[in-house]
């Protein structure tokens, strides 16, 4: 990785933690849960995955609104970044235009899927109250892109397990649609990680991760309590120590799996950037 990431040098981890817990987070969470109850029709579906009439159960609505909030965040982040003169060097422009375009499509798809149950777009502050020089410093911008993409990968997965999976498994078309977004986030994550010199995959607990983005790679203990089979960045997976059945180095074993992150942990990260 690069030797100097300016914000790591200047930022107190405790401050970041504090930012994450401030009221903006709670407002974000409240907005997320504000989706009304009941079911909706699929009249506005544009994708064949949803070419059926049906209803989305409330728990799935919550999951989709959670996803929509993250996609709003990503889409706006890239839109602002792509629009900012002089931020992204010419060589990397196509990368971020591609990613931004995808996030816009994810937003559109989720909004259409949710119809009038879709949460409104929050007001974002990508400086997190002046903490980050996000659109002034290309290194900061790339670092936040990594954090958002790796969070997105883990967040979608977090909703595919635990209780949330029940409504999704009961709605296979929703599950598949979510997965086809999830893997695209994985492609994005790999590419933006490489832009700062990281490997495309996440080793162990990613010790090189700068302080502000540490929570993106932390063990989600609450989720681990809820899901007995869930281990974060150990070589033991689903009761099998892969290091014992495979000749592969432990570091590479941990890279081979992307762990989930639960809703609370994700909102703590995203909440830093939700102004209202």
């Amino acid at each position: 990785m690069s030797n100097d990431i300016p914000i790591t040098d200047t930022l107190d981890p405790e401050l970041v933690d504090h930012m994450a817990r401030r009221t903006a987070l709670r407002r974000g969470a409240a907005a997320l849960l504000a989706a009304g109850a009941g079911s909706i029709g699929f009249a506005a579906m544009t994708r064949t995955a949803f070419a059926q009439e049906g209803a989305i159960p409330q728990q799935a609505v919550d999951v989709l609104n959670f996803a929509l909030t993250l996609e709003y965040l990503e889409a706006e982040f890239y839109r602002e970044g792509n629009d900012k003169d002089g931020l992204i060097p010419d060589n990397d422009k196509e990368i971020f235009e591609t990613i931004g375009g995808h996030e816009d499509e994810h937003v559109k798809f989720l909004k259409e899927t949710l119809g009038d149950k879709a949460v409104k777009k929050p007001k974002f502050d990508f400086t997190a109250g002046g903490t980050f020089d996000t659109f002034e410093n290309y290194e900061t911008f790339r670092l936040l892109a990594i954090a958002f993409e790796d969070t997105g990968v883990r967040a979608y997965k977090g909703q595919a397990i635990a209780q949330a999976a029940k409504p999704l498994l009961a709605n296979p078309k929703l599950l598949t649609a979510a997965l086809t977004i999830h893997s695209v986030e994985g492609r994005h994550a790999a590419r933006v990680r490489q832009l700062l010199g990281f490997q495309a995959w996440i080793p162990m607990d990613f010790p090189e991760a700068p302080a502000p983005v540490k929570p993106v790679y932390a063990t989600d203990k609450e989720l681990a309590d809820e899901v007995p089979s869930f281990d974060v960045k150990t070589t033991t997976k689903y009761g099998v120590d892969v290091a014992k059945v495979s000749e592969i180095k432990p570091k590479q074993i941990t890279e081979a799996y992307d762990e989930p992150l639960g809703m609370d942990a994700v909102l703590k990260i995203a909440g830093m950037f939700i102004a209202s």
């Binding site: 397990i161 893997s183 492609r187 590419r191």
Partner: protein
């Protein structure tokens, strides 16, 4: 297993083999493989009984989550064998980062393979024999194009199979969780390989806002040219679950 629609013995001629785009018209020697079921070029579902006649290995989707794990195990075997061959004798023209990428990916696929085998235990299908005759391992482009094909296929296979996991088997949601943990790493692989092919400035690492989700029968048809062992799927889902 909602969505499972046994199609009966739909034997189609050898000319219906595989996907046009995949083998691009070349004469592929596929030891004894006959596709039973359907091509996807005419929009027929790739479900029911798919694969070889007189198979050496049969995966029956009526068995539930274990069948999907075995299906994943077959694909991981294929990928692991491919990268072991690649890394055993790398083509020229790869820089240090590219070599490291291929080594890491190979290691991940071996971990997936060995892990799935251990989870399946006595239910695991046997080791598969592969057929890499069409791959020029001395040619960087051939290697990377094949890698891209396998990684994109792997992503679409997990994306398409997850919906058929029951979630209430003896392992509960663990199979879905595991599939989710693996598929995004396959997507990272696909991204990295595509960048090796298309260059650092390209947006080709993620060609679409939504990845594909392929049914197991379709995935087998695309993978079959690279697998010598005769594999058949029974009761493969013919359409997306609903």
């Amino acid at each position: 297993m909602s969505g499972t629609t046994p199609q009966g013995p739909l034997v189609i001629p050898r000319s219906g083999l595989g996907r046009r785009a995949f083998i691009s018209g070349s004469t592929v020697s596929i030891a004894g493989l006959v596709i039973i079921g359907c091509g996807d070029d005419d929009d027929e579902p790739a479900g029911g009984d798919v694969g070889a006649e007189n198979p050496e290995v049969t995966i029956d989707f009526a068995d539930g989550d274990g069948a999907i794990a075995n299906f994943a195990y077959a694909l991981e075997q294929l990928e692991a064998a491919f990268y072991m061959t690649v890394n055993g004798s790398l083509p020229s023209g790869l820089d240090r980062d590219a070599k490291q990428t291929l080594e890491d990916i190979g290691a991940h696929e071996i971990a997936h393979r060995d892990h799935l085998k251990a989870i399946l235990g006595k239910d695991a299908i046997p080791a598969l024999e592969v057929n890499f005759e069409e791959i020029d391992f001395a040619d960087k482009d051939s290697v990377l194009e094949t890698a891209r094909t396998f990684e994109d296929l792997g992503v679409s296979a997990y994306n398409g199979a997850a919906q058929f996991l029951s979630g209430d088997g003896p392992l509960g949601l663990a199979p879905l969780q595991l599939a989710g943990e693996i598929v995004s790493v396959e997507a990272r692989h696909a991204s990295a390989i595509r960048t090796l092919i298309s260059g650092n400035n390209s947006g080709d690492f993620a060609p679409n806002a939504f990845d594909e989700a392929r049914l197991p029968g379709e995935v087998l048809q695309m993978a079959a040219p690279f697998i010598k062992t005769k594999i058949a799927l029974r009761n493969a889902p013919a359409q997306a679950a609903s």
